[in-house]
Symmetry: C7
Subunit: 101 residues, 7 copies
């Protein structure tokens, strides 16, 4: 992650992710038309918040860390532009799963 991310810190249990670049070609090498490119659900965690407090007041640690590859839900997330690059903010609890590195 470039220096910019160390500067930006999501709050509470939010995590900042960068989606993978979409596959422009099918396995067989045929170009996929722009419109047909579904939303990319694979992404990398670029910044994480400190975690949110539960009802008893203790901060709950997050389950994902910077650099991990995660699977995003189809809906939700907030688009955020930082230094002209497109990122998305999700809640830790909305991330579906991660790939053990």
């Amino acid at each position: 992650a470039s220096r910019a991310f160390k500067k930006f810190m999501p709050l509470f249990d939010r995590v900042l992710v960068e989606r993978f670049a979409p596959e422009l070609k099918t396995k067989g090498g045929i170009m996929i038309p722009e419109k047909a490119l579904g939303k990319v659900l694979d992404a990398t965690i670029v910044a994480v918040g400190p975690g949110a407090r539960n009802e008893t007041g203790t901060v709950v640690p997050l389950t994902v860390a910077v650099g991990e590859r995660v699977l995003l839900p189809e809906y939700g997330g907030t688009k955020v532009e930082i230094e002209d690059k497109e990122y998305f903010l999700f809640r830790d609890t909305d991330i579906l799963g991660k790939w053990e590195s």
Copy 2:
């Protein structure tokens, strides 16, 4: 479950399931037309998350384990494609029941 699943880990109280293949023939051996094939509600658990925290902050263990045969609810679940195979993510609390192995 193939190596791929050990790599992918659902988060919180989510479990990854693979539905049984649909019965293509009736008991009497007559082919069932594609359209008439209802959703298959029998499935196998292929990966489980670590569990979710309850209000007091302790992680609640899951009630199903990898390899168990379970009964899925008719609705809900998130379709997920991993290495071109179709799986579904459910919450542990949504699984209706399981067959004692």
Copy 3:
């Protein structure tokens, strides 16, 4: 309950019930037309889950047991087919009452 039920275990606070056979004749012996047969609300418990956890994390025991005769609510319940027989899954908290054996 046949062996099949011992094998199938509802999860959390769900209970599996089998509705009584509908009365086909009125007290006076007149056949009741199929359409007029209301839903049968009397049933027997055939399998019970382990119970669900409350907020403090302890498992809450169920109030009905296998073999007991219960009164079902008019609505709710999930139809489940096990070995071609029709059962219903209810939450323990939705069962209206039971007859002391």
Copy 4:
């Protein structure tokens, strides 16, 4: 209450009530037409459940007892037929008040 009620036990914080018979005549002795008979909101408790658990898991005792005369809310309640007699199930918390015996 007849023997039948001792056999039927409402569950959790439900109570079984039997509504008073409607007044068929006005104070002045004039017959009230069937349609004009409003719902009878006075009733007697004929069976009570064991009570429901609160969040900390302890069972909360009910505030009404068998034999007490209570005032029902206008709406809510579940009609239940036991041995061809009409009763109603209410939650303890829905009973508006009671007459000190």
Copy 5:
């Protein structure tokens, strides 16, 4: 409050109130037409329940007492007829305020 009220006891955190008689004349002595009489929001407490339990199971005492003059909210409340007189049931938490006697 007449003997009737000592007999009727609201349950949980409900309180029974009797609205003041509406002012039939303006300050200047002009009769107010029936239709123009807004709902009277001033009332007296005639009976109180024992209070409701909070989540930890302890009974929460009420903030109003029999005989106090209170200000009712414009909406809500359940009309109740006791011995042909009109009263209203409110939750203690819905009473807006009271006049120090």
Copy 6:
């Protein structure tokens, strides 16, 4: 605040406020037409309730006191007439902020 307010006591976490008189002229001295007078959001606290109980049963003290100048939200609040003067009841938690005296 006149004697009347000491007599009226809001209940729970309600506070009684009196809105400032609207500015009838613009800074430049031009009369503002009645219709154009927006709702006045500046007000003074004239009476406060004892506070409400939280889930563990302890009374939570209020954050505003009689005499303080506060900023009201645009919506919400209950109009209340006491001795022909117009006041408003708000919940302590709805007051947006206050001016340090």
Copy 7:
């Protein structure tokens, strides 16, 4: 922040922010028409409340401080005019993230 803000104190977990002035020109120096100016989501914290109480009654400290640069969500926030300048009130939990100074 001018003196005025030290005087105004948001209540509970509200924070007062001042949005950055919108960029009137594109990177290439072309004037952006008024209508095309999206909402500015970058802002500075000018005043913070004392924090809100959680369920157990303890006050939860805020995660942002006066002077910090924050990223606002696209929706929500309450417009507030103080001494003819435009500010916005947000809940601490709604602020998406902040830039480490």
